[in-house]
Amino acid sequence: MLVADDDDDILLLVTTRLRRDGHEVVSASRGDDALALAREIRPALAVLDVGMPGLDGLEVLERIRADETLAGTRVLLLTAKAQESDVRRGYAGGADAYVKKPFSPAELSTRVRELLDES
């Protein structure tokens, strides 16, 4: 799976948790890098931070949804903005789940498991 966040500490936190859960994880710290990686590895799940340089999470989500080769990729958004409008935009853009920052790694790993079980 793919994890993208511009904050190195958060990126390491998420990847560590997911690796401990036994997932294979690649990471990116920019939106455009994340999109390129997604097209290359076609991950089952992309965990995207909303606020990123290059492309923001919502834009990456939009491009993933527009790309037919990535139809199997589920998207989980991480957002620091606890704004309902962001969440709504996220779901409208085709996100499968979102986790609000600050989140607990355990909570994240539960959401990830749920998402992968559904598909």
Binding site: I10, L13, R17, A80, A82, F103
Partner: protein, 554 residues
């Protein structure tokens, strides 16, 4: 500067004032004729010289206006002497020319001071000064000038006599203009106002008295005091400050005096009409029309100014509000990101699966870090929530939901914390109680109340959460905690308010929880109340409109 001169400077004004007032009183005790004239003319000359002395002592940055005041008063004093030498001279005589020369000198001095103090920058205040001046001019025209013009005497005599009231208008214009500067707070200015006002009053009494005038009449007191006050103003050390430029004050100030003055000015035209009608006197239509028209234009100008100022203020407020929102968003992001790291990594370290295992001591320390950061997060969330509330951006998405089920869930989630603290937490309610509410916010409200009860209830206590309906949906949370007094019940929902018991019992909190609870309840059209529970503790009661009514209200 040496001390003696300083002392001299501070006392000479008071000495002059006391001496001048005493002499003015003496004036009315001595016989009419030459003795009186000597005192009168003496005061006039002394005042003119004292103004010169004041300029020399106080050394103002701008001497010109004060020299003009000195010259103006000297001109009056010379006229007094000429008049006293030959009281029965034909009008216009030499005395009149000296009198009439004095007014413009004084008025120009006042105008010069105003401009120097930056008064002309204050357009709004100048407009108001102009309105008052126009109203005064109307009175002078109708009640004083008209009578002189229609009265007896040669054409030149009437013309010169009519000039006096016109000069008073000039002087009042200078005075009214002065109020627009910040200079009016200095003692020297108050003395100047006194000088001009006593002079104007004397002039008006003189102009309106039908029986003519003879030296020694009471009206002389006004002119005498005016001399004394002009001189005292110049001798007062604060005169040096009077002409200093002052910062512009950009404020919409509406003092009662100002309103009264403006209303009186605007009523002058109808007042003149009524008075002339009652007296059955001829109506000076051009005077009333001119004055009323000028005032109407000035009032509109002033209104436009006020509206523009309001528009500027509104734009600034909108900008400030936007900046506050941005600030909140920034803080939201910047506080939450490091908190995510702190809490997340602590959790990773505390992970049971991690090898090698943590020893108990290290684990207990890290659990403190974990608990503290959770508390910090809650505080940040509360503050952000309140900030959003203050800017009126609590966007709710109400949907029909079962209050009973949601309350049961909130109680369920708090159960672990209750057990840890040794508090019995029970839920009472069955069936479904439909309300239209924002699920996230309502859960926040329920969790808030339950957590609050838990926080204030000591070990061995009991918390009951009850949901019922009696037309409205009712939720009650009662606890056996430390409670609060009946007086405190009224204030308990205020932002940052904390009851005495909470402070003494060192129960942690910011005083935001109940404020938030109230805001959420009211946003849903409900009511929240708190009362002390019989036998100790507290009862919080929330009533929310039942689903159907709530939907209809939208």
């Amino acid at each position: 500067m040496d001390l003696r001169k300083e002392l001299w400077k501070h006392h000479i004004g008071s000495l002059f004032l006391a001496g001048g007032v005493a002499l003015s009183g003496l004036y009315f005790l001595i016989p009419r004729g030459t003795p009186q004239s000597v005192v009168y003319d003496g005061i006039g000359i002394a005042a003119s010289l004292a103004i010169g002395l004041g300029v020399w002592l106080n050394r103002p940055d701008t001497r010109l206006p004060w020299l003009l005041f000195g010259l103006g008063n000297l001109s009056f004093a010379v006229a007094d002497i000429i008049f006293d030498v030959n009281p029965d001279a034909a009008v216009p005589g030499l005395a009149d020319w000296f009198y009439l020369a004095g007014y413009p000198l004084l008025a120009f001095g006042l105008a010069y001071l105003i401009f120097h103090a930056g008064g002309h920058h204050r357009f709004a205040a100048l407009v108001e000064a102009a309105i008052v001046t126009v109203a005064f001019a109307l009175f002078q025209w109708v009640f004083v000038v008209d009578r002189i013009v229609d009265g007896g005497g040669s054409a030149s005599e009437r013309a010169v006599n009519a000039l006096y009231p016109s000069m008073d208008v000039l002087l009042l214009a200078g005075l009214a203009g002065f109020f627009v500067t910040a200079a009016w707070r200095t003692p020297a200015f108050l003395l100047l106002v006194g000088a001009v006002v006593t002079m104007l009053v004397a002039d008006e009494v003189y102009g309106l008295s039908p029986g003519g005038y003879a030296a020694g009449d009471w009206v002389d007191l006004g002119w005498l005091l005016s001399y004394v006050l002009w001189a005292t103003a110049a001798l007062h050390p604060s005169m040096a400050r009077l002409s200093k430029p002052r910062p512009r004050v950009r404020q919409l100030r509406v003092s009662p005096v100002r309103i009264v003055l403006l209303v009186a000015a605007l009523l002058s035209a109808p007042a003149v009409l009524v008075v002339q009608d009652i007296r059955a006197a001829p109506l000076n239509v051009p005077a009333v029309v001119t004055a009323a028209s000028i005032m109407a234009v000035l009032v509109v100008l002033r209104l436009v100014g006020i509206l523009r100022a309001l528009e500027r203020i509104r734009a600034r407020l909108i900008e400030a509000d936007r900046m506050k929102d941005e600030f909140v968003a920034l803080i939201s992001h910047d506080l939450r990101t490091p908190l995510t790291s702190i809490m997340g990594y602590t959790e990773l370290v505390l992970d049971d699966d991690l090898e090698p295992k943590l020893d108990d001591e290290r684990r207990s320390y890290l659990e403190v870090v974990s608990r503290s950061s959770a508390r910090l997060l809650r505080l940040v969330d509360d503050l952000l929530f309140v900030a959003r509330l203050q800017s009126g951006r609590l966007d709710l998405t109400p949907a029909p939901l079962d209050l009973c089920a949601l309350a049961r869930q909130a109680v369920g989630e708090a159960q672990r914390r209750a057990k840890a603290k040794g508090v019995e937490l029970v839920f009472d309610g069955n069936g479904s109680v439909e309300v239209a509410a924002d699920k996230g916010r309502l859960f926040q409200l329920l969790d808030n109340l339950v957590s609050n009860a838990l926080k204030f209830t000591p070990e061995g206590g009991r918390i009951e959460v009850r949901v019922s309906r009696n037309g409205a949906a009712v939720l009650e949370v009662s606890d056996t905690g430390i409670g609060f007094t009946a007086e405190e019940a009224a204030r308990i929902f205020e932002r940052f308010y904390r009851a005495d018991n909470a402070i003494e019992g060192q129960v942690q909190g910011t005083g935001l929880g109940l404020f938030i609870a109230q805001a959420i309840t009211e946003a849903h059209g409900g009511t929240i109340s708190a009362s002390p529970r019989d036998g100790g503790g507290a009862v919080f009661r929330i009533e929310l409109p039942a689903a159907r009514t709530a939907m209809m209200q939208r």
